[in-house]
């Protein structure tokens, strides 16, 4: 008997609370799309904001409202597939990207012009007299990009140049927003040829402030106008439809602003002076080879022309039946433009 009362009381209490909560749940329920939770589960959870939403749950809410499924860069194609599966839409293949610092101007090739004293952030340094580098477009090297990278993908050379380690980069694009000189660009992961210069100064100024800056000589864009374009004194690589990794681009760029990852890995290219020396040798060889090829072609054309003229002379000496034929001249082979 003494046991029954407590049991009854507690059970009664429990039941009353249960019913009360159930009723309240009906009146106080907040409608939430169950897909939102499912989406939050499959999203990477980096909360990086690359999609433009505040955090992954924000993007999930946007997705059920009809947002583009391809906005999550850290997730890549795997996430796009998962999102498409949950929402019941078609999965699109996205190009996986990584961040690239479009500058190769460490202190060794792009010298400082003064000593900066003050808060050690790039944004603060640029405020003082437009930065302490001779080149007003180049990398300051105080690490605003590294500060925001949560995956430790940004490293620095001994000469104060920032670079992104592609394998560690999740493409959240935080560094792109952090750089006060807008040096960082998202490039397709599988592309190997890049122009590491963002200077918009005319070539005659650039070559005085940086040994490896782009002088907009147009050699690259003339070789393949679908892969390189000159915009405002700066060569830009096109990564879209119809473009490709031009294999000879690094060999014809005289200042060495084009980096071909097939020829040199990133760290070697940015830090090893031997690599530059080696490249110069390759460039000289390549140019000599091209020149020889052109000379051979010209010789061949001249010989062909001579042969045709000789044949024509012969025909004149022995008049053929009918009207004399007009001698046709072989079209002159113009030397390929852009030889210099």
């Amino acid at each position: 008997m003494s046991l029954l009362v407590p049991i009854l009381v507690l059970s009664g209490l429990g039941a009353a609370m249960g019913v009360g909560l159930a009723v309240a749940a009906k009146f106080l329920s907040v409608a939430e799309d169950p897909r939102v939770e499912a989406l939050v589960d499959i999203l990477p959870g980096a909360n990086c904001g690359a999609c433009g939403y505040p955090g992954c749950s924000g993007y999930a809410k946007g997705l059920v409202a009809g947002e583009d499924v391809t906005l999550c860069s850290p997730g890549g194609n795997a996430t796009v597939k998962d999102i498409a599966a949950i929402l019941g839409v078609e999965a699109v293949t996205v190009v996986e990207k990584v961040a690239l610092v479009k500058c190769a101007g460490g202190r060794n090739v792009a010298p400082d012009r003064s000593l900066y004293v003050g808060p050690q952030t790039c944004r603060a340094a640029v405020l003082v007299g437009f930065g302490n580098k001779e080149c007003r477009w180049g990398c300051i090297g105080l690490g605003d990009c590294a500060e925001v990278c949560e995956d430790d993908a940004v490293e620095f050379t001994a000469d104060g140049l920032a670079y992104v380690v592609a394998d560690a980069c999740i493409a959240c694009a935080r560094c792109v927003k952090a750089c006060p000189r807008d040096l960082i660009e998202m490039v397709p992961k599988d592309r190997k040829v890049h122009v590491l210069c963002s200077s918009h100064d005319p070539g005659k100024i650039t070559k005085n402030v940086c040994q490896v800056g782009c002088i907009a000589c147009k050699l690259c864009s003339r070789r393949d106008g679908k892969s390189f374009v000159i915009e405002d004194n700066n060569a830009t690589v096109l990564y879209g439809e119809g473009s490709r990794d031009v294999p000879t681009a690094a060999l014809i760029c005289t200042p060495g602003a084009v980096w071909d990852a097939n020829m040199y890995d990133q760290v070697t290219w940015l830090t090893d002076p031997e690599a530059r020396v080696h490249l110069k040798e390759q460039q000289a060889e390549f140019k000599a080879a091209e020149r020889a090829e052109r000379a051979a072609k010209k010789k061949k054309a001249a010989e062909a022309k001579k042969a045709k003229e000789a044949a024509a002379d012969k025909a004149e000496a022995e008049p053929a039946v009918g009207k004399p034929e007009k001698t046709e001249e072989a079209p002159d082979q113009e030397p390929e433009k852009g030889a210099e």
């Binding site: 012009r113 004293v117 808060p119 944004r123 603060a124 405020l127 007299g129 930065g131 007003r136 005319p202």
Partner: protein
């Protein structure tokens, strides 16, 4: 009876280095690099081409819009280039390069005129066509300052003869040697604005200048002289208006909001030249001083002359230079190289020795409050500096960091050597960027 404002500091003035040096005129340079961006507002657009012959005073760059002024050739000769050249502020800007022909010939100038015979609008036109900007350092187009909206009635015009920056003596010498030119220009400005009152405000440490100006205004009607207590930054617009008229410029506002317009001494001298002789602004008085030059001088140099020429005129460097600053030690800007050309706002070239430079090391705020007492705008630099260091931008906005005039009183008085002005400039940049970002986000939401 000298008047003043609450706050400010008393730095070592070192004016004795150059205050007794009478103004000398530098010979015209062999090559002038005339920048098209020498003022606040849109840069001028070049109207000359390479190989074109120009005469002294010809327009080489036209004003681009209302808040802009034309730029003139400071020498006669041939234009050799129009392109990017290093600018005193550190960037590269469009400039017109003129090689001298040695003749230094004036172009045809507008006819001479007496200020009394010209109307206010005509005076303003001459000022605009002469490319005159505020020569106190800000380089704001003067004709724009003289065109307040009709709703703002201007009752007082102040002549800012405080020259509160240490080391600089250009305005002082100008007042001592050419007081009538200064007063005449000032009166022309008063006429344009139709202001009832005109006050010339001079700091007490320039007794000869006060004497000269008082003599010059004794014949002029409606102009009085006010002596100011010697304090930095007495020459700040807001501080001047507070001290002389006891009026406060509202937050985010301008002097015209309390019926006042402030002009600088050198600006008035340039106005007089433009009004009387139609001469454009191609030169100004510059003090070359500091313990880093052998012989401090006050010189009149043409725009576009390299800074090195000015330093040479002062006997060259004395020992290794530590820092070369265009302007004064408090609000001037250090330059990277001395081959850059001077512009309209270059009123001082200051060379400091390496021993005079502070180290960049600073410590945490000890909350002593010296900066709060020194701030002429009555802000809390200690709090603002702490928030800026940990990048808490919203709290900073709440502390009115946008009212900071970057005078440097706080950084000067800080025993922990904190780079306060630099932190505030950094903060203002972030706040501007965040506001811009918020605006684009808002417009994105609305779509």
């Amino acid at each position: 009876m000298s008047v003043s404002f609450r706050g400010g500091i008393h730095p070592r003035y070192a004016k004795e280095l150059a205050s007794d040096a009478a103004i000398e005129h530098l010979p015209p340079p062999d090559r002038a690099i005339v920048h098209l961006s020498q003022h606040i507002g849109a840069p001028a657009t070049a109207v000359v081409k390479k190989k074109q012959e120009v005469k002294k005073g010809d327009v080489v760059g036209e004003a681009a819009g209302f808040v802009s002024v034309p730029v003139h050739a400071p020498i006669s000769g041939k234009v050799t280039d129009v392109g990017l050249y290093p600018h005193p502020f550190g960037s590269m800007q469009e400039a017109v390069v003129i090689e001298s022909d040695g003749k230094d010939q004036w172009t045809d100038l507008p006819p001479k005129a007496q200020p009394d015979s010209l109307s206010g609008e005509e005076i303003k036109d001459r000022i605009r066509n002469a490319g005159i900007v505020g020569l106190g350092g800000a380089a704001f187009p003067t004709h724009v300052k003289l065109s307040p909206p009709p709703a703002k009635h201007i009752d007082t015009v102040l002549l800012n003869a405080a020259e509160c920056e240490p080391y600089l003596t250009a305005d002082d010498r100008l007042m001592r040697e050419e007081p009538r030119r200064v007063v005449s220009g000032f009166q022309a400005l008063q006429k344009v604005l139709g202001a009832a009152n005109a006050v010339i405000c001079i700091e007490e440490n320039k007794p000869e200048a006060i004497g000269a100006i008082e003599k010059a205004v004794s014949k002029a009607k409606g102009v009085r002289v006010a002596t100011l207590h010697v304090k930095y930054p007495q020459g700040g617009e807001k501080q001047l208006i507070d001290a002389v008229l006891s009026r406060e410029v509202p937050t985010g506002g301008l002097p015209m909001d309390c019926g006042v317009v402030v002009q600088n001494v050198a600006t008035c001298a340039a106005v007089d030249d433009a009004v009387r002789f139609g001469k454009p602004l191609i030169s100004r008085v510059t003090t070359v001083t500091g313990e880093g030059v052998a012989n401090p001088v006050n010189v009149v140099g043409r725009m576009g002359t390299p800074v090195q020429t000015f330093i040479d005129a002062a006997g060259g460097f004395q020992g290794t230079p530590g820092r070369v600053i265009l302007g004064g030690p408090m609000m001037g800007g250090a330059i990277h190289k001395t081959d850059i050309p001077v512009i309209k706002s270059t009123g001082g070239v200051l060379v400091l020795t390496p021993e005079q430079l502070p180290s960049g090391d600073f410590e945490s705020c000890i909350r002593c409050g010296r900066c709060v007492r020194a701030c002429p705008i009555h802000l809390c630099p200690n709090e603002m500096g702490n928030y800026a260091e940990v990048e808490m931008w919203e709290e900073l906005e709440g502390l009115d960091v946008n009212d900071c005039i970057e005078c440097g009183c706080c950084a000067y008085s800080c025993p922990a050597n904190r780079p306060l002005v630099q932190l505030f400039r950094y903060a203002k940049l972030w706040i501007r960027q965040n506001q811009a970002r918020a605006k684009t986000a808002e417009s994105k939401d609305e779509k």
